[in-house]
Symmetry: C2
Subunit: 188 residues, 2 copies
């Protein structure tokens, strides 16, 4: 079965955006060479990418550009080439290369995709989708990059997840800029 | 000047209790010998302890007992001997040994105590107090023990802290039972 993981930055108080949806803090002081090398290596295992509409629109506006190709050529090539799925009921089409637009319920669609042959899948950003997939127990691996800033309020990936699921810590790496990367696998 | 630190367990989604105030998840599977040894060593640096009423009442009902002296003799001795401050407007008196009851605003009282001679101070639990002291920029070190459980909703130590303060990661240790200990110092 295809596995599903999620990757995102979170604040010291556990939020992926502040209460106004701002996530620019995640990029502040993030140009640590070791961290950038790690992110690049980590992304190479990524095959299919899953997005909610908001994250999709941000990514689709950046990775196909000449600026992105210049700034991060390997990552840009990988992002543009990867098969991508975007969940949206408001988009009419998805123009970014190799993107499939899905208007059905994310948990139903991902449960079906996991049963089909194909590459493993990663949800990038897309907190609302993550929460739905976590509640449906479809996420096999949680990857978080903890950023040492306190937001005070914000949005959580796991909002309204019930049943208090436990996870098994599989990796923990620290970086000179104070970021900590964690990977957790399902404990059940 | 006396320094102030805080120590508490948090869930994978950043809460110190669930929405109903339950924190028993923090003790589940916590009997890792390395972790217990670390907690004991870490607590030996503790001199004065600061509590809100809820945490005080829980601790005062346990540490003076014969059961606590039997279960964790060194920690019980340390907890009972330490100078303690409890913030409450509803308590009439504080019976636990070496405890001073304070009814004033926590930020005002701690700012004053930090200027007086005496041992360094640690807030244990007491999320509401932590939030007020964090907002007043009185906390010098944040110590968190990250527990790999998703609560879905709950209470944050940093609720309503404004200004998005950054912290500097000073320690990160992992334990076999999946807990991760972090220490952060003020970055400003």
């Amino acid at each position: 079965m295809r596995t599903l993981r999620m990757f995102n930055s979170i604040s010291l108080d556990g939020y992926f955006t502040d209460a106004d949806g701002d996530y620019m803090w995640a990029h502040e002081g993030s140009t640590d060479p070791d961290l950038m090398e790690f992110i690049k290596g980590n992304a190479q295992g990524v095959n299919a990418l899953i997005f909610g509409r908001l994250t999709y629109e941000l990514m689709a506006a950046w990775w196909p550009t000449a600026e992105a190709a210049k700034a991060m050529p390997d990552v840009a090539r990988g992002m543009n080439a990867a098969p991508k799925y975007v969940f949206s009921r408001s988009l009419d089409s998805a123009e970014w290369s190799n993107t499939t637009l899905l208007s059905e319920d994310p948990a139903t669609a991902i449960a079906r995709l996991k049963q089909t042959p194909g590459p493993d899948m990663t949800v990038l950003g897309s907190g609302t989708i993550v929460s739905q997939l976590a509640e449906a127990r479809l996420i096999d691996e949680v990857q978080l990059l903890l950023c040492p800033v306190v937001l005070g309020s914000g949005k959580s990936h796991f909002a309204e997840v019930t049943g208090k699921p436990w996870w098994r810590l599989s990796r923990c790496l620290t970086f000179k800029n104070g970021r900590v990367f964690f990977a957790y696998h399902r404990a059940d």
